[in-house]
């Protein structure tokens, strides 16, 4: 019996996927694959690091290739199972997503190398490297997916991996921190799911490009303000914005320092990315209505973070507050909504991923060299290692936003964008935060590095595998501080692509625009 072939071109993509488009799904797929492999080899402790570090290096290369592809050809889309969007799950890589994914991969690679000496055999037996790769699968997937329910799934992937990492070692203080971290983050993602349920009820679609089109067409009669506000709360909680930031200083100082470094570089930034994606691309007019609320939350986050940093004696907790303070700058950029503001927020997020990771690494090394994390006891680090002190000083300047390091330019962009709309108070808050952060970190340098050690220091040296990633990340902040032009132009294009998503929509629905 001859079967007549049905014409499926209304439902399926009939042309084979172009080889370059495979790059779009490769980052999460690669991480899942290698993560599963490492999980199977979890008994071979000596193999773990030898497989994980090259795997992450390959991930950096994949993301770099994807960035080159997207920067020249515009956003790229691949759909799962060949189902045409909006029915199939689409992965869409645009400049914003790829920049975040690349920075995340760099941070993860640095963390994996740093962990060679920071995570001992016990930590490896509990599965540090498999968790790291699965975390990267979640992070890369979240940055590259074009489907909002799929974004929720990637959030959960990275959340469950982060639970594994934060409890690695199971010391009482880790359990304590993990409880607060786990409950509050789970509630935040559940809130995200609530909002996504409403969004599906309103639009009948989960594809982000499709939502952007439908929201623009029928904005007046839909309750989009509800969605925007709920997303702001859910992702604000993930990003640790005031007043839903309290899980972060309660937990980030408890795990192994390299785990804190990875969390500081990756997790809150996923929240910021999701805020950019939803509030700028999907609901721009609603964001404009909310802009004063976001600006106020951002200002409070900045000031609270900086003041919290000044009030801490444990340098790891001080860094937790510095992470929060940086989130405030990004929220301020987001609240402005102009290309300069969004670009500043993206640039600051990339800068913060690199610098906060490096700072946690530096704190870990300082603790190892001096035998304590307490500012009352730390001292004499300058005499122990001048190179390490110099690297730390560069990072302290970078996080405070002083030129010529990478924190300076995004702050200029945000301040300039705020001045353009006459929001002088926001400029004052950004500058004041920089000043307060300088005080907090200046004091760390004065006390921990310059002050002579009270007691004899433990006989520790910094192994090269711990120093190299720190030096590499520090070099990145210097390079992007001295030569910001390439990154600036990329970031400005990324911001334009978010604010005017025609290219994004055209990539998902060829021929519709």
């Amino acid at each position: 019996m001859a079967v007549t072939p049905t014409d499926l071109s209304a439902a399926l993509v009939m042309t084979p996927v172009a080889p370059a488009d495979w790059l779009v799904v490769l980052p999460p797929a690669w991480c899942l694959l290698t993560g599963a492999l490492l999980l199977m080899l979890r008994k071979s402790l000596h193999l773990q690091a030898w497989l994980a570090v090259p795997a992450l290096a390959v991930l950096v290369l994949i993301d770099a290739a994807l960035l080159a592809h997207v920067a020249t050809n515009g956003p790229a889309t691949m759909v799962m199972g060949r189902w045409l969007p909006p029915f199939g799950i689409a992965f869409t890589a645009d400049l914003t997503g790829v920049l975040f994914a690349l920075a995340g991969a760099v941070v993860a690679l640095a963390g994996a190398v740093h962990a060679l000496t920071d995570i001992d055999g016990r930590g490896r037996r509990y599965g540090f490297y498999p968790f790291l790769l699965l975390l990267m699968a979640g992070v890369s997937g979240a940055f590259l997916t074009g489907d909002i329910f799929n974004l929720y799934v990637w959030f959960e992937v990275l959340l469950i991996s982060s639970f594994g990492l934060i409890t690695l070692g199971s010391e009482p203080r880790q359990i304590d921190g993990a409880i607060k971290y786990a409950f509050l983050n789970l509630i935040a993602t559940t809130l995200f799911l609530v909002t996504t349920g409403y969004l599906y009820g309103i639009f009948g679609t989960l594809n982000m490009a499709d939502i952007a089109v439908k929201a623009a067409a029928a904005r007046a009669e839909l309750p989009l303000m509800t969605l925007a506000t709920l997303y702001l709360l859910a992702f604000g909680m993930k990003a640790a914005a005031f007043p839903v930031n309290f899980w972060l200083p309660a937990s980030y100082h408890t795990p192994r320092v390299v785990v804190s470094a990875l969390f500081a570089g990756l997790l809150t930034k996923v929240g910021i990315y999701a805020l950019l994606r939803t509030l700028i691309m999907l609901f721009p007019l609603e964001r404009e209505e909310l802009s004063f609320v976001i600006a106020l939350a951002g200002a409070a986050t900045m000031i609270l973070g900086a003041l919290g940093a000044i009030g801490q004696s444990d340098i790891r907790r001080l860094l937790g507050y510095a992470v929060i303070s940086g989130i405030g700058v990004m929220l301020a950029g987001l609240s402005l909504g102009s290309p300069g503001g969004i670009g500043g927020a993206i640039f600051y997020a990339l800068h913060s991923m690199i610098v906060m990771t490096a700072l946690y690494m530096a704190a870990g090394l300082a603790g190892r060299l001096a035998g304590s994390f307490d500012l009352n006891l730390l001292g004499g680090l300058y005499t122990r290692s001048a190179l390490f002190s110099a690297l730390s000083l560069v990072l302290f300047f970078a996080v405070s936003g002083l030129p010529p390091f990478s924190g300076f330019w995004p702050k200029v962009m945000v301040a300039k964008a705020a001045m353009d709309i006459g929001a002088w108070w926001l400029v004052v808050v950004v500058l004041l935060t920089g000043f307060l952060t300088t005080i907090a970190f200046g004091r760390v340098f004065a006390l921990a590095y310059w002050r002579p050690a009270a007691d004899a220091l433990p006989d520790e040296t910094i192994p090269p595998s711990a120093l190299v990633p720190l030096a590499a990340l520090t070099a990145l902040t210097v390079v992007f501080g001295l030569f910001p032009d390439p990154l600036l132009s990329l970031v400005q294009h990324a911001a334009q692509g978010l604010a005017d998503p025609q290219a994004y929509i055209g990539s998902v629905f060829p021929g519709r625009t």
Partner: protein, 125 residues
């Protein structure tokens, strides 16, 4: 059909929030479970509730001939159930470990990570 479902979701959410406001972790955990189930119902209601008409296309047709139930919310809920169940399992173990290691299930008394009398940083050399 939607109205009773919506009221039920409201009850789930109210009970979940009430339980999560407790300082005892076991209650918070139950609150999280209730919240997860409330969200599943919410997803279900947002897909529009219809009588049990399976979305099957009869032979010889290209599209369904009658209104059928929406199959997508079931896919979403199935995903959400798996996720919330596995998180519940993890949190249950975590809370139990916390009870063993910290000797309390009262969130206010868990001050190992954030000691109450944390020393202030030095004000000078």
């Amino acid at each position: 059909m939607e109205l009773p479902l919506v009221l039920l979701i409201g009850v789930f959410f109210a009970a979940a929030v009430y339980l999560m406001l407790s300082k005892f972790l076991v209650r918070v955990l139950l609150g999280v479970v209730l919240l997860g189930n409330g969200v599943n119902l919410l997803l279900f209601a947002n897909g529009r509730v219809l009588r049990e008409v399976p979305p099957i296309i009869p032979a010889g047709h290209d599209v369904p001939v009658t209104l059928t139930a929406n199959p997508l919310p079931q896919a979403l809920i199935l995903t959400a159930i798996v996720i919330s169940f596995s998180f519940f399992a993890f949190l249950l173990v975590l809370v139990y470990r916390a009870y063993q290691d910290l000797g309390t299930d009262n969130g206010n008394e868990m001050r190992v990570a954030e000691p109450e009398n944390d020393p202030l940083p030095p004000t000078g050399y």
